[in-house]
Amino acid sequence: MKILLMGNPNVGKSAIFSRLTGIDVMISNYPGTTIELKKGKMKLDGETAEVIDVPGTYSLDPASRAEEVAVNMLQEGDLVINVVDATNLERNLNLTLALLERNIPVITVLNFWDEIRHLGIRIDIQKLESRLDIPVVPVVAVTGEGIKALVSRLHEAKAHQKRYTEESRWERIGKIIGEVQRISLKKHTFLERLEDLSVQPLTGIPIMFSVLIVVFWTVRIVGETMIAYLFDPLFELYLPFVTDLSRMLGGGGVVHDILLGTLIAGQIDYIQSMGVLSTGLYVPIAMVFPYVVAFYLVLGILEDSGYLPRLATLVDAIFHKLGMHGLAIIPMLLGLGCNVPGALSTRILEGRKQRFIAATLMATAVPCMAQTAMVFALLGPYGIKGLGIFFMTLFAVWLILGFLLNRFLGGETPETFMEIPPYRIPYPGSLGKKLWMRIRSFLTEAIPFVLFGVLIVNILYVFGIIEWIGEMAAPVIVGIFGLPKEAVAALIVGFLRKDVAVGMLLPLGLDMEQLIVASVVLTMYFPCVATFVVLFKELGARDLLKATGIMLVTTLLAGGILNALL
């Protein structure tokens, strides 16, 4: 049996999916979080049923491309759980009635049941059930309230073959609403005032800058604090262990160098030694991980509060100059965490041109948190100047490249048409779950790659391959970027892991200007392999080739100019 979860965007379908199947999925307060069909299983009367989280739709209009997926799914499904936002009944019922024309059993879920009281809305469920002639179950997806009742009533789902025209459907809805819903006048809450203030330019733009500054500093301070008080002390305890091991292995030799790296001044140096058990663990765990946690904590709050669609609205005009909707701020922000989800989320954008521009800009000019963390470590000692130039350069590249791409690529970017969900206080439970999902994927996906990257570095050194490539690439590295030719090793490793690559700059003894150039070049020249694979899937071979060509040329230009200016 196939159960389809269907409803408007952002009504809690994924939250219910996760309740029914026990599968953790991304749940965020903006439309379009679910970008692919997500499937899971649940037990129903001793049998297994398949549950499908269908992307949100406003109607079942077969002519509209966006609704195509949902309409096609209907042919395959055996039962529809129609998720309805109880705070917006009228609009949501439009889809409900459209489903009732389809001769498939439907059960309706009134989600956000916790929200309706303070909005002054009263809904008579019994009456709604009898008017629609299908079961209607109130739930609160984020707390799980009502989910049991939903499961126990699934078998009551009922199919109809109503015949409506668009007009008669709205008429019918009007009649139902009049009978089942009472709205009492209520005073405007603080959050509602804030909703207006954060999109009105006069107040919205200062709010936007404040939010961005607070985000930046929170990430830095939370990250730094975790490093100073948790991870550095931890690795202090670990030091005697690796030091003993180093002594046992005789302080050198191939095995020693691969496991522990080369000794710096007779000591293991966690950053510079480049051993699998020294640098390979220290970089991802003690340098990158704290910032990743801090970033995803803040991002989760931004996502669940509902601020991001407002941010998207504020920046929409600028983004359109770059050929994108304001909503493309979401791939950019996700990319700041990790370019992989950033690239995946370009799917929420409509149109090939827009997706190409967003993916290319993100992969070129948006450094992931792992890399940023290492840049913090390297440039941090130079104060705000070094970091400032680093970020401003990337931002300038992002703007100029976007502007040019928009000018010279064919195709149109349609106008924005986007629902902005209300502000909500995030549930700590859902925040924690999302944070954990992201941390888990960092731990399981990033750390092995770092270890592998460090291993490769050692192998390349042992065979002299890095020196050889260094000689060949010298004209570019030395001539254009003004870096020592040993920096080529970082560029090679940057394909695997950018954080390790940035760390490899440290032993080179670069000055601040060179560090900035190298960090910028490492961000831009090529995506890391994980991002590369996703981009290949999202863009296809031809567009990926185009994108990487753009990246290489832009890097040469930006790195050269930066080197000349600094």
Partner: protein, 81 residues
């Protein structure tokens, strides 16, 4: 006074009178409940030809400037002008 959503003043409430533009476009608007007879409030318009933000039944929607020009409304209070 009949005007368009684009020309409506920020903060003003109005009733939708008519939708212009292609059939597909009108359908899209209607599926978000932007239909004739519905009461709306213009929250703001973003600068530099940015979108118009409109509130309808507890929901806010950002609508591109040119789309907003195709939504004909009647301002419900004409204390100004």
């Amino acid at each position: 006074m009949e005007t368009t959503l684009f020309d409506l003043k920020s903060g003003e409430e109005a009733v939708i009178k008519n939708l212009k533009g292609g059939a597909e476009f009108q359908k899209k608007l209607r599926s978000l409940n932007l239909r004739r007879g519905k009461m709306i409030r213009k929250v703001t318009a973003e600068p530099f030809h940015g979108p118009v933000v409109v509130e309808i039944d507890n929901t806010e929607i950002a609508i591109g400037m040119n789309m907003a020009k195709k939504i004909v409304v009647e301002a419900s209070e004409s204390e100004s002008d």
